[in-house]
């Protein structure tokens, strides 16, 4: 490997590297550095992952015994609504965004994203939006109509008060964050690739980020329109979802799921990308069938727009609709299978080093297969009439989103933690985390398949004795508590390793992609000298990179200056939303004023000072 360690020889440069994260709170608020933004995304997202997890534990404790009265239905409905909303919008999506932010510029050999301030804006909109949404717990209760918010339960008639208003505005704000981030990554990936890095040489994670970003910008407008219609109904008294005035409640379901199904792939594809990076590294073998893995990711995303009505098989679409949506849904199994086969083929004939990232990646594949197979069961519209809205679906989504996405994200965390922090996570604690998590995960969610088939509907705050649900629910509750404990072990690992972890060095795993050519943590400008790429696995090529990307004699690159405007703009948006919830026009106008000032302030502030 020709990657030079020279930068460590000069005390001056080392100080710069340590400076990547140094500086006070203010430097974090005004930062436009993709690495810092990525870390903040990760910290906030993990915080909300814990919040969502706590909500899940309360749900499970309530369901641990039949006819339990620990949690009343009013609170229970808030908890399951916020659990879903939090996990989707405030935990998994921003955790993926954390990886996008930290890694994509490194993987494509860039110094930052295309629009660093827009990137900071996305972060702050997410943070303020998330706080806004959760503040509802303090003001009259959290949203309680489900994360899917089916009309007309969300109308003022059936949901008076401000709970649903928080949800409607909160999701619109989070949509702004997602779309802004996705636009940024699309342009970054198209335009900032290092010389020689053609699209078909991009690392798989970057590829999946690219595909996910397109899904985001194309899927979010549909739910935005749905939310705007709902907001008009609630605020101005229109009748978009009022059947008495001719409105159609099913329009909401169509708009929601035209967004909602691509959203599933928005959650999933980054995980598939992570696993596609980890498996080759720890098999010491390039990804098998790279173009097929790439194309299958694109195909999954494309088909994802044509399957939304499989969430609506029970509404009575008629045999033609159900047949069409069954068929398109089944088609998705093919590219998904192709990915799984290619991962196994990558390991086949490899030289597998069982480090924590690979443990989680293999755990991901094992669990994702189960989730995929129950997905095929749902794709059959007729069979799904028994499964939909039952605990069988709860089991399915958790096998896909927890067994799949969360395992993949943990794989990514163990894999890139050394790059991000410069410290290795403990393998010993990691193993305890992994085994406890995968066992308790199965204990929690496997019985739910049976619960659903035995007739337990989802979103129910209790169940009667005598239906045979007691034992399986208790098992699931015990599993969930252990699952929660396994997450604490992970947190301990992070704190322990940050203080006492082994130093990582630039490339602890022998990775093939560009991020492993620079120091850990990377200097704030990433690459002192621009790399040139000649293959898909540039660091595995004979002789490695042909330039020393860390060359301390090269001039230090100028980086964009910090800016507070993105944070102010994000604050203005949320201020307007606060005004809207409080039905105070003055505050709305004030928020709008802040937005306008911030846009002009931003536009006329030079990028570099």
């Amino acid at each position: 490997m020709s990657v030079s360690q020279a930068s460590h020889d000069s005390a001056g440069t080392t100080a710069v590297h340590e400076g990547t994260y140094s500086g006070g709170l203010w430097s974090w608020v005004t930062t436009v550095d993709h690495k810092r933004i990525g870390i903040m995304y990760a910290v906030f997202a993990f915080f909300f992952f814990l919040v969502g997890g706590l909500e899940a534990l309360l749900i499970r404790i309530q369901l641990g015994s039949p006819e339990s009265t620990l949690i009343d239905p009013d609170l229970y409905n808030q908890l399951f609504t916020m659990h879903g909303t939090t996990m989707v919008f405030l935990a998994v999506m921003p955790l993926s965004a954390a990886f996008f932010n930290f890694l994509v510029p490194l993987q494509i050999g860039a110094r930052d994203v295309a629009f660093p301030r827009l990137n900071a804006f996305s972060l702050w909109v997410f943070v303020f939006g998330a706080l806004f949404l959760n503040s509802s717990f303090l003001f009259g209760g959290a949203p309680d109509a489900g994360w899917f918010g089916y009309a007309n339960l969300t109308s003022t008639q059936y949901s008076p008060g401000v709970r649903i208003d928080f949800w409607v505005l909160g999701l619109q704000i989070l949509g702004v964050s997602s779309i802004a981030a996705a636009l940024n990554f699309i342009v970054t990936i198209i335009n900032l690739r290092a010389p020689g890095m053609s699209l078909m040489r991009m690392p798989l994670f970057t590829w999946m980020t690219f595909v996910t970003s397109f899904l985001l910008i194309l899927a979010f407008p549909a739910i935005t329109v749905g939310l705007v219609l709902l907001m008009f109904d609630r605020t101005f008294g229109t009748s978009f979802f009022n059947p008495a005035a001719g409105g159609d409640v099913l329009l909401w379901q169509h708009l929601f799921w035209i967004f909602g199904h691509p959203e599933v792939y928005i959650l999933l594809l980054p995980g598939l990308g992570i696993v596609s990076e980890v498996i080759p590294t720890f098999s010491r073998k390039p990804l098998f069938g790279y173009p097929f893995v790439v194309y299958s990711g694109i195909l999954i995303a494309f088909l994802g727009f044509g399957v939304w009505a499989h969430h609506m098989f029970a509404v009575g679409l008629g045999p033609i609709g159900n047949t069409v949506f069954s068929a398109t849904t089944m088609l998705i199994a093919i590219p998904t299978g192709v990915k799984i086969f290619n991962w196994i083929a990558t390991m086949w004939g490899g030289s597998l080093r069982f480090k924590m990232p690979l443990y989680f990646a293999v755990g991901f594949i094992a669990m994702f297969i189960i989730g995929g197979l129950s997905g095929v069961m749902h794709s059959s519209a007729a069979a799904d009439l028994q499964q939909t809205d039952s605990y069988f679906v709860v089991a399915h989504i958790h096998y896909v989103l927890f067994g799949g996405v969360i395992f993949a994200l943990f794989s990514g965390i163990y894999y890139w933690f050394p790059k991000i922090t410069g410290k290795m996570l403990s393998e010993g604690i990691g193993k305890a985390h992994f085994w406890l998590m995968i066992i308790s995960f199965n204990l929690t969610f496997f019985p739910q398949h049976y619960l659903g088939m035995h007739g337990m509907p989802r979103r129910t705050f209790t169940y009667q004795e005598g239906l045979g649900f007691e034992a399986m629910n208790l098992m699931s509750t015990i599993g969930s508590l252990v699952l929660g404990f396994s997450i604490l072990i992970f947190l301990w690992n992070v704190f322990h390793s940050l203080r006492k972890g082994e130093s990582a060095g630039p490339d602890p795993w022998g990775g093939a992609t560009l991020e492993w050519a620079i120091d850990s943590p990377p200097p704030h400008y990433n690459f002192r000298v621009e790399p040139t790429v000649h293959s898909r696995d540039p660091l595995w090529a004979e002789g490695g990179l042909d330039v020393d990307v860390n060359d301390p004699t090269a001039p230090e690159p100028h980086m964009p200056s910090p800016s507070l405007w993105p944070c102010i703009l994000a604050f203005g948006l949320v201020l307007a939303a606060i005004g809207a919830v409080a039905k105070t026009l003055l505050v709305v106008l004030l928020g709008a004023g802040v937005v306008v000032v911030a846009i002009y302030g931003w536009a006329f502030q030079p990028l570099e000072r």
Partner: protein
């Protein structure tokens, strides 16, 4: 270096857990609400389809997880193991693992589509019994338009005869689900949906709302009594009668003032015994006086409200409060005392009723067989 078997050993707990989960889940029971115990033609079609798909799922599971395990154990890094060969792909393999799942999907798609066209079309059975189900927050109203019956939360069907259910909603979206009678169908305001099935065994089957519909969604239950044609006829005959104490069980009219010289009409005997008559009279008074009539209907009396369940034959029902309480005087009293304590968010307000009124009302309602 670790021996590969050590990993297998460490993988054992997970298999044990899955097996245990399967075992515990498989036993227990008796699962009166289970989709895996079909009791109608509709449920059987869906179950057959599910079993077929499940068969293929198990095969795919074994093959793919098996391949994963083999890869994991066989290709572990060991001392002296030579470096991995850098293979980039194999088109023949790619094509085959694209085609193989596609073939399995065809094998799943064919019965799926056949079943969709079987169960998603309106029934063609001319003898089908039409039942209208109306979803309310949080109870079910059932009407038999051809038989002139209105009831709540309890549906009676004759075994072996097609039942055609027409579903509408009075407020938000609900979903009609008797797992042993077949799949669910959403109940949507502004839309009319249908579901039909033919029960093939006699019994009482629980069901419940399957679409989140607000606060007490979990308590929106119902029961289906599938019974012989004779038992069904008897039930229909009972339900068609006006409420006890009205119609042919009405109290005899007070003798009118008769003109001098005319025959005094023979005073009619009360068809009910005096004790029951007293209960009915007092109850009726209390029912009128307590505001119940604003929402409830009792055929043959002035109570004609339509917001709550029809109570004409409430005493004949197996359960009350959308199927969550056995129909006993104690439960009825509990419900009347504080409806929201039994069904949170219930639209039925807590009436300021004293103990005596509640006792009177309970006796009255329970007598309405």
């Amino acid at each position: 270096m670790r021996h590969p078997w050590r990993l297998l050993k460490s993988a054992l707990p997970i298999f044990a857990i899955v097996a245990l989960a399967g075992l515990v889940s498989g036993c227990g029971g008796p699962y009166p609400q289970s989709a895996l115990r079909p009791a109608s033609d509709f449920a059987t079609s869906l179950d057959d389809l599910f079993q077929g798909i499940f068969f293929w799922a198990v095969i795919v599971f074994v093959v793919v997880e098996g391949a994963l395990l083999v890869a994991v154990f066989r290709f572990r890094d060991r001392e002296g193991k030579r470096a991995a060969e850098h293979v980039h792909g194999n088109t023949i393999l790619e094509v085959s693992w694209t085609i193989a799942p596609a073939l399995i999907l065809v094998l799943i798609a064919v019965p799926t589509i056949r079943t969709i066209w079987e169960v998603d079309r309106p029934t063609t059975d001319p003898d089908a019994l039409l039942i209208e189900a109306v979803g309310h927050q949080w109870w079910w109203e059932f009407r038999y338009p051809d038989l002139g019956i209105v009831t709540a939360n309890e549906i009676h069907v004759p075994v072996g005869r097609t039942v055609d259910i027409r579903l509408t909603s009075a407020d938000v979206i609900h979903s009609f689900w008797f797992p042993r009678a077949g799949g669910k169908r959403d109940v949507i305001p502004g839309h009319e949906t249908h579901l039909w099935f033919k029960m093939d065994s006699v019994g009482v089957f629980p069901g419940q709302c399957a679409e989140f519909c607000g606060m007490s969604h979990a308590l929106m239950k119902m029961e289906m009594v599938s019974e012989s044609e004779e038992a069904f006829e008897a039930w229909v005959a009972l339900q068609q009668k006006p409420a006890l104490g009205t119609g042919d069980t009405a109290a005899p009219a007070e003798p009118e003032e008769v003109a001098e010289g005319e025959d005094v009409p023979e005073p009619q005997a009360d068809p009910l015994d005096p004790e029951l008559r007293a209960i009915l009279n007092a109850g009726n008074q209390a029912f009128l006086g307590s505001g119940c009539i604003a929402c409830h209907r009792i055929e043959g009396t002035v109570a004609a409200g339509v917001l709550g369940p029809d109570l004409t034959h409430v005493g004949s029902r197996r359960k009350i409060v959308a199927g969550i309480l056995e129909n006993t005087p104690e439960n009825m009293a509990r419900w009347l005392q504080n409806p929201s304590a039994v069904k949170p968010g219930s639209l039925m307000p807590t009436m300021p009723l004293d103990e005596d009124t509640i006792r009177t009302l309970v006796a009255y309602l329970e007598s309405l067989k």
